[in-house]
Symmetry: C2
Subunit: 397 residues, 2 copies
């Protein structure tokens, strides 16, 4: 049996991907830019095993077996990797005909509504690439076939997915802009909010937007290109204020085009909008842009803040969004959970002095907070204890 | 003492006005189209009195005295009417120097968040025009100086506010498209929803949108003109399906541009979006577009539905948005309050059969419902008992 285990990160778009020009090849209508999050707090982990005795392709996701050969996106990724292995002409360690067993897990709750497919497909493709022994140059285009934004999870730091212009999608690739070490103090707080509404899936939502919204095409052609330039320059210069403004504007514009869809796609809820309003009020109270929000196709907020400002932001969040389990480790996950109460005094100052006071909301609007930061790309894990598949039985542990 | 009393209707925009090209003259960046609502259910009522003994201009709004000479919008309307009277050369019944007492009341709760300024300024201008004895041809341009959308309340039925192109705004006028009798069975249900959030005022909101949104300018130049054509034709042909679709699309696009503003303007809340989703689900269940929604700069829904379909729509609303005081006359206001329970059986059929079932929400998300319909423009009331000002004292009753 040949076996490989890898982890891959989550990425959060700063300039949003919304709308495909080719549904089959998953080619976007505009470039997008993302930041990769540290795998310490959130990642997908995949083990891929190949064995001459496996009768069929099988896959387990978060402990549940799921259809493999019927899943066209997984099969597309697999076929593309096998083609790549053939094209490279490099001898693979085992015949390509051998069946595979795959196991994948996210170390963060999928119920959180956090985009797990990007990390999942990036991890799948990266792990299979290790198994087949193919270099990682073309991998982003293959991950893209699984889930568009997965291509951005194959790099660390700040990543640009170039939409490309060729019909076959071969130039629709994700390339790094700057590594995690370029802006190492970039931290992220994910505010997971309570929500019960049924959402339109991203795939269906963006398809409907492209078909029915007048604004999305103007956005893709005229707004995004200049935003890509502006935020790339802000990242290069580590200009947080410029970075923050364009990030918030682009999140809002993405949700605006979703709303311009017919029937409309609504992903933010009242709590999401309250968080956005909190960020504007907090920045106004501080007198500079210290925090930025972005929202994907769901209600949870992703807040960008430099590490040195986290300890004054957290108590302000607790003032504005009081939570009865704020002292609970289950509420505050990730980096440095002791910071929550550390500088409550400073935050109280912010809310009490100054002309802009923070809005105070009812209790428990936030389910929990994940504190994480900028991080690197996928990693191959070499320790035998890392495998999710039992090398004797070929089945998941 | 010379005294006049008039009423003026509310109008609800179908193609939205959002954004001025001239803040002072209140000149819009695009045409808009509205439907005027019957004054039987909702109207502003204004009495204007002129007397040689009045020492100063005074005004009372809903019983409270408000500053008059300090209110630049009211003064602009007054000055423009006096200029018109002078320009006409017609002898006025009294010297233009005489001071005025004005009283205005809305017969609908202002707390409802329903745009009352349009009806209010339309009524003010119409009443003053009666008092000064000037013809009503140029009145829409004068009402516009008070509140942009007020110009549309000077006509009944369907009204188009032409943005105009002249710098002095003299061609920015509201003109009728079709009278109320053209589509007499056009009914409206206003769903007033619970809300506590502080909203950005329309004036400030649209100013910020024009300054910060990229999408608003594309909307004004490229989307609105074709929508104006499409809905005008739908109105002409009494094509409810076409009318409904473009109305919903334009409401969504207006809120999209508000969200594309920085910081964003958010007027719809979760309940508003649930109502929009209900309308789409209801139409899907029926198999044709029977209901349309539109939302102004607030969370309340305005539903368009033909009179013959009201009795099956109302019970469906009650199923989807159950209200404990549904039998209360305070909950269901306006036309034919006995229809609410009339055909519950039919609505139940809709929700139970078919593949699309209606979403069922928690109780009491709606504060109340106003049932009204298409209506005529402002009216001069001649009965002495109509006056809101005591002709002996010169003060409001």
């Amino acid at each position: 049996m040949f076996i490989e285990t890898c982890i891959a990160p989550v990425n959060i778009a700063l300039i949003k991907y919304w709308g495909k020009r080719d549904e089959e090849l998953i080619l976007p209508i505009n470039d997008s830019i993302s930041m990769t999050l540290s795998t310490d707090e959130m990642c997908a982990k995949t083990t891929a095993a190949a064995c001459s005795t496996f009768k069929e392709h099988r896959m387990w996701l978060n402990g549940e077996e799921i259809p493999f050969e019927e899943n066209s996106r997984i099969m597309r990724c697999l076929k593309a990797l096998q083609c790549l292995a053939l094209a490279k002409g490099a001898p693979t360690k085992f015949p390509l005909e051998w069946k595979l067993h795959l196991t994948s897990r996210n170390n963060f709750p999928t119920a959180a509504g956090l985009a797990s497919s990007a990390a999942g497909y990036a991890c799948l493709v990266y792990t299979l690439a290790c198994l087949y022994g193919v270099a990682d140059e073309e991998l982003t285009a293959i991950a893209r076939l699984g889930s568009g934004s997965a291509c951005r999870s194959l790099h660390g730091g700040f990543v640009r997915w170039h939409m490309g212009h060729l019909a076959d999608g071969s130039d629709s690739l994700a390339l790094p802009i700057a590594s995690a070490s370029h802006w190492p103090n970039m931290n992220v707080l994910i505010l997971v909010v309570s929500d019960s509404r049924k959402k339109t899936s991203s795939t269906k939502g963006m398809q409907r937007t492209v078909e029915t919204s007048d604004l999305i095409h103007y956005r893709a052609k005229h707004c995004v290109p200049s935003r890509i330039k502006t935020i790339s320059e802000a990242i290069r210069q580590r200009d947080f204020e410029a970075f923050a403004k364009i990030t918030m504007q682009d999140s809002n514009q993405f949700h605006a085009t979703a709303l311009d869809t017919y029937p409309p796609c609504v992903y933010m809820n009242d709590i999401s909008h309250s968080i956005a309003a909190f960020v504007h009020a907090y920045n106004a109270a501080i007198g500079s842009t210290r925090v930025a929000y972005t929202f994907d196709a769901g209600p949870n907020a992703c807040l960008y803040v430099l590490q040195e400002h986290v300890s004054s932001l957290l108590p302000a969040i607790q003032i504005s969004f009081p939570n009865d389990s704020a002292d609970n480790v289950e509420y505050y996950k990730g980096i440095a959970s002791d910071q929550l109460t550390q500088s409550a005094a400073e935050a109280t100052d912010i809310s009490l002095n100054g002309n802009t006071s923070l809005p105070i909301h009812e209790h428990n609007l936030l389910k929990y907070i994940i504190h994480t930061k900028i991080g690197a790309g996928p990693k191959r894990l070499t320790g035998k204890e890392e495998h999710l598949i039992n090398t004797t039985t070929g089945h998941p542990y």
